[in-house]
Amino acid sequence: MTAGHSIVLLGGPDSGKTNYLVRLWRALKSRKCALVAPRSPTNIKYVESLMEFILQGEFAPHTDVSDHPSDQQLQIPMVRAGASSDDEVTISVPDVSGELWKGAIERGDVAKPWMDALKASAGALLFVRVQSEANVSSLDWVNTPDWLMHLAPAVKADADPAVAGAFNSDDDAVNEDLKVPTQVALCELLRFLDETLLRGDDGLPRVAIMITAWDLLDEETRVKGPEAYLEAEYPLFAGRLIDCLSLDVRCYGVSVVGGDFKDDHFKAEFFEADVDEMGFVAFDLGGMQEEADLTLPVAWVVDPLFDDE
């Protein structure tokens, strides 16, 4: 038995943190995965309240902003499959509202309990969701030429009158609409982790990049793998991952149930299926693999902790 460790989940709003946390609990309980819960945690009220949604064919709602990490968390004992309970580690996984991290990125700070939670964490899962409406694209010359014109008055003069009019009439309103791009937010969150995660003598802290709703991508994109997806969608973040030598990073494509509940056909299939066989993680370790074991990213992140004990 151990005193426990924690890992932290980070990501912007609607990035899939809560749905993964709930599905992780189910996977640990199934005793079919790389990580197993040898016994139930003391308090499972929070995750069970969210499990209701998934088992009834709905994704969990957005997480409330909490004042303290202990308000919404899964604190669970885990062992590696086949290992004795003597090798158990207890992992605390606080579920954090994406709004909290969004604010942290904009201000460059976070409330002390959350900063303490980061500093107490041995590893992390960093989330971004495919096709989320909360994702923000970087400005470009095709989608936002009107806004870029504020930097080039000569260009502005040639602009479509409607566009130029909107720009001239209400500068600040346009400005307000422009948010921190998702790839910049991801770079900043990775930096937060790099600055705060616990560093022991053995190896670098591990961070799993979780690209959720992986099932929404077409086959051609999926076979290229998570790294190629990031390179195409988020070049800044992909470049930062290559440059980051102070964290051990792996990328995973994640589908918590293997499909989209908005698809009635899939929903009907889900209701008839064995839930433990629904969902998968995709990763590239010398070749693309898809595994039904939803604990694999966490198993990789916490693996050094077992060796610590």
Binding site: A104, I105, R107, G108, D109, V110, A111, K112, M115, S138, L139, D140, W141, P145, W147, L148, M149, H150, L151, A152, P153, A154, V155, D158, A159, D160, D171, V174, N175, L178, V180, P181, Q183, V184, C187, E188, R191, F192, E195, T196, E231, A232, P235, L236, G239, R240, I242, D243, C244
Partner: protein
């Protein structure tokens, strides 16, 4: 906290500012001593703010050492009049990296990523009265701070990283150097690896403004040489190339002038943005400008051997007349 002052109406004990504008220690009405907190009324603790992460904003000159201590940084000195296209060039570079479209390079890291992004979104702008000094941050959340932007890129060919320090300064500082000899704030130019002298190309191609802008550019070169005798190589960055190409005659005049001053000058035209339908693509020339800026002067000499200005009519886009190497 200071003791109360005997002068009626003086708030030095709370504001630290003497009513008579005296140095507190010299003021005849004040003891100059700090109040003993134990004797005074109970002090309220300052409200505790959230703990912060390391800053991701503009870097003041004093803060560069923690980056430069880690690795060699190529410092670029960016000089140019207001509206010459300095900000547009930085934003164009950043946006090309954001979309993975900077030819030959990819993004790797930035210690001032939020500053780069905020400038690109127009979330920070120069205040009506631009800053007079470099600061790490401004008090007002929308104001832009004068300082350096850090950017690390990697070559797509061999993965070799290059760290740039790019100053983000109001154009008024450059104008004050030329017109009022206020050059102290730009002293870092002598420590720079390369200088970008930004010139509005549209003004150089417009007949009515060509002579004036040619004159101002020549003046910039003279003043730079006058105030900073040990200047590194200079890249004359001709902006707004989407509005037209500067003539060969203009190029020759500028290069001859630079040669007469003993300056090592190259020319690169860029179009940071371009209006819809313009045959010149937005971001044209930015990757070439970056390539030209990498490395020390010695490396640059080796990479770009002396070249005579090409003869005949030459389109300014991608025109890089390399060092006169004097």
């Amino acid at each position: 906290m200071l003791n109360d002052c005997s002068q009626e109406g003086c708030t030095v004990s709370t504001t630290g500012v003497c009513l008579l504008n005296n140095e507190v220690s010299q003021c005849p009405y004040h003891s100059g001593q700090e109040a003993d907190a134990s004797e005074g009324e109970e002090l309220l603790a300052e409200p505790e703010g959230n703990p912060s992460f390391r800053s991701s904003t503009t870097l003041a000159e004093d803060n560069l050492s923690f980056i430069m201590g880690d690795r060699y940084c190529t410092m670029v000195g960016i000089v140019g009049a207001p509206d010459s296209g300095k900000t547009a060039a930085l934003v164009s570079l950043y946006l090309k990296l954001s979309h993975g479209k900077l030819e030959g390079f990819r993004y790797a890291d930035s210690r001032s990523l939020m500053a780069l992004d905020e400038i690109s979104r127009g979330a920070r702008r120069w205040a009506a009265a631009p800053p007079e000094q470099m600061t790490a941050h401004t008090e007002l959340k929308d104001d832009r701070a004068a300082g350096f932007l850090h950017l690390r890129i990697r070559s797509k060919d061999d993965g070799w990283p290059v760290d740039f320090l790019l100053p983000d300064l109001p154009g008024e500082w450059s104008e004050a150097m030329v017109d009022e000899s206020r050059h102290e704030r730009l002293a870092f130019l002598e420590r720079a690896d390369v200088i970008w002298l930004m010139v509005d190309g549209e003004q150089l191609t417009t007949p009515a403004t060509r002579q004036l802008y040619l004159h101002r550019t020549q003046l910039y070169l003279q003043r730079l040489k006058e105030f900073f005798p040990n200047l590194p190589r200079i890249i004359l960055v001709i902006t707004r190339a989407d509005k037209g190409s500067i003539s060969q005659k203009t190029t020759n005049i500028l290069l001859k002038d630079a040669a007469d001053l003993g300056l090592n000058v190259a020319i690169q035209s860029i179009a940071s943005f371009a209006s819809v339908g313009n045959p010149v693509s937005p971001g044209t020339g930015i990757a070439e400008l970056v390539s030209m800026s990498i490395g020390s002067e010695k490396t640059a000499y080796r990479l770009w051997p002396e070249a005579e200005p090409p003869s005949g009519d030459v389109r300014a886009i991608n025109l890089s007349v390399r060092g006169t190497d004097l």
